[in-house]
């Protein structure tokens, strides 16, 4: 069965469209069950909101798109959220508004004048993107190519973990450390560079962040973000596994932060489709207990940090955090003190922090 794009129909969508769509969607399409194929054509292109507005569409064309996209969202939302906790219809509708916001030129969309709207993608591409969102469960952030995180708009794309809202707090934890502004910091497994950019923007003269990652794709994206926020003189990107690329600053670091992969391997197959089928396993899978990398970080921190140095790790929550905190205060108690568990806004003990003696 083939799905036809509604824009080939040309006329406003008939009311039966939603139901026929539902029928289409209930038949699993071959592409959504297999592993996702990153769209190589779109891969090299900048995120939607940074593309030049070289396309045009009429106001009513865009209105038709919204109606079509919303009918898709209303039909698919309940099923998606019930199946694996994915987005519901209300959230999908908000995403449509943001997709349009990113794809159109803001000034034109605000004013009521002029029938033509300037677009950053072809209208047909907009249909394709939203269909991928619903049918393939492609994460919204990959669709628009960016994630709003703290007060930043970070570039993201397939192959790099989409920074989570919880992780925003790591930057706040760093900001509470006395004298952090002039220190040397390391963000291990930086991914999109979110934490590094968040810290880098607060640093003063002499302050520096070393951001490492094993993945070349991640480093490429991180570089884009560092450049976009003009932090090239504050953030140094280094390729390699965890502490490996940081031998030259061993024992000199003011602080160490990381959001390492922490999901237990056994949970990976059951993950929400957006995560399990689209985001890089490298950034998610933490081994049998989920703590392979966290344990490695704990062991390496003592020699990486200078005396008085600070660490903050994100974990899978409650149990993992307690385990890590115990490890740091009992087994490594000679090296660390003032170990704390910090909850995220959902009340889950998400972070472990402490200081090098």
């Amino acid at each position: 069965m083939t799905l036809r794009f509604p824009f080939t129909v040309r006329s406003p969508l008939p009311p039966v469209f939603a139901s026929s769509l539902h029928r289409c969607l209930s038949i699993p399409s071959p592409s959504s069950s297999s592993s996702p194929t990153p769209l190589p054509s779109s891969d090299r292109r900048p995120p939607l909101f940074l593309r030049p507005p070289t396309f045009a569409a009429s106001r009513s064309d865009l209105h038709d798109f919204r109606r079509w996209a919303e009918s898709l969202a209303l039909a698919a939302g309940p099923r998606i959220s019930a199946s694996d906790g994915g987005p519901d219809a209300a959230l999908l509708r908000r995403e449509i508004a943001w997709l349009v916001e990113d794809a159109t030129v803001a000034a034109a969309s605000e004013s009521g004048v002029g029938e033509e709207l300037r677009l950053r993608v072809e209208l047909e591409e907009l249909y394709r993107l939203w269909r991928a969102r619903i049918e393939e469960r492609r994460p919204f952030q990959y669709i628009v190519g960016c994630e709003h995180w703290r007060d930043l708009v970070l570039v993201v794309k397939e192959g790099v973990l989409i920074p989570r809202p919880e992780t925003e707090m790591v930057v706040d934890l760093v900001a509470e450390v006395e004298g952090f502004e002039k220190g040397l910091w390391a963000d291990l497994g930086t991914g999109s560079g979110a934490i590094a950019v968040g810290i880098g923007r607060m640093l003063q003269e002499g302050g520096r962040v070393f951001a490492t990652d094993l993945s070349p794709v991640a480093l490429e994206v991180a570089r884009l973000n560092v450049e976009r926020y003009e932090l090239k003189d504050k953030i140094e990107l280094r390729r390699g596994s965890w502490f490996e690329p940081l031998r030259d600053v061993e024992g000199k670091l003011t602080g160490l932060v990381s959001n390492p992969p922490y999901i237990p391997s056994s949970h990976v197959p059951g993950l929400q489709a957006e995560v399990g089928q689209h985001e890089p396993k490298l950034a998610l899978d933490g081994g049998e207990e989920g703590m392979d990398h966290l344990l490695h970080l704990c062991e390496g921190s003592a020699s990486a940090l200078k005396s008085g140095g600070f660490f903050a790790f994100e974990t899978n929550g409650d149990e993992q955090s307690e385990f890590i905190a115990d490890l740091m205060s009992i087994k490594f108690g000679n090296f660390f003190h003032n170990i704390k568990l910090i909850p995220d806004f959902a009340g889950i003990q998400r972070f472990v922090t402490g200081f090098r003696r």
Binding site: G85, P87, A90, L91, R94, E95, W98, P139, F140, Q141, E147, H148, W149, R150, D151, L152, L161, I162, R164, P165, E166, E168, N259, P261, Y262, I263, H267, L271, Q272, E274, V275, H278, E279, A283, L284, E314, T315, N316, G317, D344, F345, A346, G347, I348, R350
Partner: protein, 469 residues
């Protein structure tokens, strides 16, 4: 105006007309000063120029009310002793603007000034200014820097508000003096200039009358507008959404910037509750007139029996005081910040664009939620702004209770009683229950044409106050 001033100075240097040498000099000097935008500076500059450059001007002085820091209110008069009230009392016939009759212009302006003063509650302002001045002179003022800052800010605002009106009064009196002089001296050019100035004053007067309606403490602030559906399910949630749309269109028409802060949609249609932020000068001053319960009567499209329904939506309006003037100091430790609608493991397990945050202020139980921003950080900042404004409002209400004079603002701002009825069936009408102002075209009102209701209520409010004084 400034151009006129320079022209005037130049003339006085090259070939001073005779009237400049008359004993009425002080008035002329102050006339030029109040015509200029920065009156004090220019008055001083003029004084220097005159003092240094020309001899024989013994009585050059800056008017007392401009130079003095005290709360003294001047008694403004023309050279022959006319006050603004006296001019208004003369009942000179007011003709059209195009008529070249200076008395008619002067009478119209004098009437406007009286109205402006009435709307500003001038007598109350004088009392308040004296209180503030007295408070400022207390030696222990700065023992409480927060309250000291507030007092000196209020004093400054009050003073500048009153100076503006006094300046306007002064301007009228001086033009009258000039006009009389010009006629005595047969100086046609000056007469023409004065006539022109009076006409332009008269044109501005209407605008100033309107501005005077918005002279409350926080009227110039931006604000939040909140709409909440009453009991009655989908029909009343639909009504709440209609009311919210009415405010969005009204605000956009007025050139305010509207941002949705929070929106709780109804299950089938409409909204349970929503908050928008309205950014712009005097947004609060206008929107405060809308506080209360709005009632709708219509055949419900959600009722298959096509029966007539009555539903209610409550509207609250909260001023955004802005940095530096917040009334309530929030302690970080008093806050509980929660992820809104969070479930499951979170973190790397979940990909979601939902990052709504609810902030609860534990001591008061007041909370705020924002879900429309694209990052948690921004949602939190936005919710925090709402919370700050709510706590500020609470604090203002508390202080108002202590200070009986301001009790009115308490009842105005809090969730009020039913204020307006919108009937779509069996007849069509929107009627304000406070002012009895009514319109027979509900569509235009629901489309945002609210100014008639708002201005009527604002003037009604002042009349009521006047009666209470």
């Amino acid at each position: 105006m400034a151009g006129f001033f320079f022209l005037f100075v130049k003339r006085s240097f090259s070939n001073p007309p005779r009237f400049l040498l008359s004993p009425k000099i002080p008035i002329l000097c102050s006339s030029t000063s109040s015509l200029a935008s920065s009156s004090q500076t220019l008055a001083r500059a003029f004084k220097n120029v005159v003092g240094g450059g020309i001899s024989g001007f013994p009585r050059v002085s800056v008017p007392r009310w401009l130079s003095s820091q005290s709360a003294a209110v001047p008694d403004l008069k023309t050279a022959d002793g006319l006050t603004v009230d006296a001019i208004a009392a003369k009942n000179w016939p007011i003709l059209g603007e195009s008529e070249s009759d200076w008395r008619s212009h002067a009478a119209a302006i004098a009437q406007s000034i009286q109205l402006i003063k009435k709307r500003m509650q001038w007598r109350k302002l004088i009392v308040r200014l004296d209180q503030m001045s007295a408070a400022l002179n207390k030696p222990d003022l700065w023992d409480d820097p927060v309250s000291a800052g507030r007092i000196s800010r209020e004093h400054g605002e009050l003073l500048s508000k009153m100076k503006e009106v006094n300046g306007y009064e002064q301007e009228l009196l001086e033009h009258i003096d000039l006009m009389k002089l010009a006629r005595e001296e047969n100086d046609e050019e000056l007469e023409w200039e004065s006539m022109k100035a009076l006409v332009s004053m008269r044109r501005n007067a209407k605008e100033k009358e309107l501005e005077a309606l918005l002279s409350g403490d926080h009227d110039s602030c931006s604000c939040f507008i909140e709409v909440q559906a009453g009991a009655g399910g989908t029909e009343s949630m639909d009504w709440a959404a209609m009311v919210m749309n009415m405010y969005k269109s009204w605000a956009q028409r007025r050139g305010f910037v509207v941002t949705i802060v929070e929106e709780m949609p109804g299950e089938i249609a409409g909204i349970k509750r929503a908050t928008i932020k309205v950014d712009g000068d005097y947004a609060f001053g206008y929107a405060k007139a809308e506080v209360g319960v709005h009632r709708l009567v219509r055949i419900s499209p959600f009722d298959s029996g096509k029966r007539r329904h009555t539903s209610f939506a409550a509207v609250a309006v909260i001023p955004i005081l802005g940095d530096g003037s917040t009334r309530y100091q929030i302690k970080e430790s008093d806050l509980r910040i929660e992820r809104f609608r969070a479930s499951g493991a979170g973190g790397q397990h979940v990909n979601t664009t939902e990052s709504a945050v609810r902030i609860v202020h534990i001591p008061t139980g007041i909370s705020a939620t924002c879900q429309n921003e694209r990052s948690q950080h921004s949602n939190k900042a936005s919710a925090m702004a709402v919370l700050q404004s709510r706590l500020d409002q609470l604090e203002m209400a508390r202080q108002a209770q202590l200070n009986a004079e301001h009790t009115r603002s308490l009842t105005d701002i809090s969730w009020g009683n039913q204020i307006r009825t919108y009937v779509l069936h069996p007849y069509r009408m929107v009627k304000d229950l406070r002012t009895n102002y009514e319109v027979s075209d509900p569509e235009s009102v629901l489309g945002g044409d609210l100014d008639g209701f708002i201005l009527n209520f604002l003037s009604y409010l002042l009349d009521k106050d006047e009666a209470n004084v």
